[in-house]
């Protein structure tokens, strides 16, 4: 049994927001209430894409206390393996789907005196739920949100209308940049910074905050890692006694699942550590992409996270 508990839902709303982002609303098929959740949680959406099962994590952006429906926003990735394209092109109002119970790998530190949110592009979604959670309990927060252009600024209007004092918007095409060093300098003791967006932005915030002497525990980040396509490779699974082929546009985890091998998982995005797998033997190079293993583990050749990482070479034998 892998992953979180499942919920059968139907799609009750599909709203294209702009050229890249579409919002989906899910309600329970049985008409019951959905579980409440904590801001920052995601759900894993199962997609049956022409015989291929895709399981993609998306941040829940609706009010965590609203049990009538969940909403997510999906950014179309034309270069990706097709999960977001499936959502954009195939999913219609009335469709029945399966999603997971909420799982939170990016939760608020409720001790914080102040929550400082930094979002890039579609990275705004977990903050939408966190803002709703904090508003209910009079939390102290501030949002700095960077978008490519006004046309692609998902939820900018909603945020600036409801929270004009807390929200700060930056448009790339107008050469507006978050002045991060200045922003971090002078924040009250007990502030926590949260960043969600492209990898470059996360690295920039982590580095800048560390250089200004911010404690590691006060810096929170969530990167949307999707498995990247790569060269096909062959893997031997020692426990299952199987040799499987990992295709160009599927992950190692998906290939194992396709072959009926029960492999644990939770986030499918390289963050939670559930799918950590021991390497028994290898000859070649790992392409590690996860956030879970540290540098020493990455170079040890002893572990791999099959949800996002790949392999190039002759032999790979896994303890699975």
């Amino acid at each position: 049994m892998s992953g979180a508990e499942k919920i059968a839902v139907k799609v009750t709303d599909v709203v294209p927001l702009n050229d890249l982002v579409t919002r989906f609303k899910f309600e329970r098929t049985d008409g019951g209430l959905l579980p409440t959740f904590s801001g920052g949680a995601h759900t894993v959406v199962e997609m049956n894409d022409g015989g291929i099962t895709r399981l993609n994590p998306y941040s829940l952006m609706s009010d965590p206390m609203d049990q009538s429906a969940y909403t997510i926003s999906v950014r179309r990735d034309d270069e990706g393996r097709g999960g977001s394209l499936f959502m954009h092109k195939q999913v219609k109002v009335g469709d029945e789907m399966v999603i997971s119970y909420p799982v939170n790998l990016f939760s608020l530190d409720l001790r914080a005196r102040k929550h400082l949110f930094i979002a890039g592009g579609i990275g705004i979604t977990p903050f939408l739920a966190q803002v709703k959670q904090l508003e209910r309990f009079n939390g102290n927060w501030e949002l700095h949100y960077s978008c490519r252009s006004e046309a692609l600024g998902s939820y900018v209007g909603e945020l600036t209308d409801h929270h004009p004092n807390e929200t700060h918007i930056y448009y790339d095409d107008q050469k507006q940049m978050i002045d991060l060093a200045h922003l971090l300098d002078g924040q009250p003791l007990g502030t926590h910074v949260y960043v969600c967006g492209p990898k470059g932005m996360i690295d920039w915030v982590r580095k800048t905050a560390a250089a200004e002497g911010w404690p590691r525990e006060a810096i929170h980040y969530e990167e949307f890692l999707a498995p990247q396509p790569g060269k096909p490779f062959e893997v031997k699974l020692a426990i299952s006694n199987k040799i499987i082929q990992v295709g160009e546009s599927e992950s190692l985890l998906e290939a194992m699942e396709r072959e009926g091998v029960d492999a644990p998982y939770l986030c499918r995005g390289g963050a939670c550590g559930q799918c950590e797998t021991d390497v028994i033997d290898y000859s070649g190079n790992f392409i590690h992409r996860d956030h879970w293993l540290d540098d020493a583990e990455h170079s040890s050749g002893k572990k791999i996270m099959p949800c996002v990482s790949r392999f190039e070479g002759k032999t790979l034998v896994l303890d699975r």
């Binding site: 579980p35 959740f37 119970y101 939760s107 409720l110 001790r111």
Partner: protein
Amino acid sequence: MTIQFNDETFRDDYSFYNSDRAIKRFPFPFHEDSYMYSVNMEQHRGGPVDSIYEKRFDVDEHYLSEMRDRAMVLADDPLRCQSLPHMTLAGWDLLELIMVSKSEDYPDLFELHRDGNKWRWINKPMGIDDTFTFLDEATLPYGPMEYITRQAQGDFAVLDQRDDNLWMDAGMITTQADWSLDFDLGMNFFEWHAPVPLAHEKGIFIRALKFLLNIQQGAPARRLNWTMTVNPLLDTSPENYHKWGVQKTEIAPENLGSKQHLRVELQTFFRLPRSNALVFPIRCYLCSFQDLMTVPKWGRRLHRVIRDLPEELATYKGFIDNRPMMLDYLSKFDDGQPTSDGIWPDLETEPALKK
């Protein structure tokens, strides 16, 4: 089935007793004839009918007396219930979890009526009928965690999850096996387990923490833990150790069967939705040796487990001095016959004691 609640005490005259039904459903913690630490976790999704695993929160014949004992402990020492300020939301999560579970699992005893945030809670055994506003502390006589755990058997540790660790940031602890919430409050998982011998070296806590951090909403887990207590004393707290410690020396061959109790904790773990905290209910069950010996399988097994337990564990669990006397008693119930696997009494299938 309707529960007949005992009128009994866990102090002074110790009138606590287990009915035949309670003995039969006692959570005997040894699934084989030996014991060593392990991360013995399993899913907490029901179990055999009328077993302690059946419901999310077991309510049994000791309910009212245990709640009375808890109220007395809190009157003497309010520090047994504490919640750091950031844990209030987790307290509401816990209140909801217990009210929903109990009203669904025991509809004849508990009722919950919800109209938006206007909630009415009826606890028939305790004669409580309260209407309050969910998420508004001002509408309850205590904080949400204290309110509901004054009405729920067992201790409750509410753990904040952050920085890849669990933090003991709130709790209602009045039936503990000799640890102090007031002292351990604010500690992380490794720190509050620091005094436990052997398990750290075996990597038990690293694996246990990894498991617990990944417990998700809708998928609770459970395990059993155990120790020994002289007299059916629920509140074996370090705070009062200078008062109850001497009772350990009152054991004698002629009273051991009735005074010596096996103390078993049913530990469960639930992810709390709004706070992303983890609640760790620790439900304590007590059974005297003489009652345990009415189950032949348990008599044989308990003797073998206690006899072969490493010295460090017998010391940590506080019965190293009394072990020889315990073994004298228990050996009479071990005829050397094999025992069946698993914790259940197997009264129909296991042979009677050969005299």
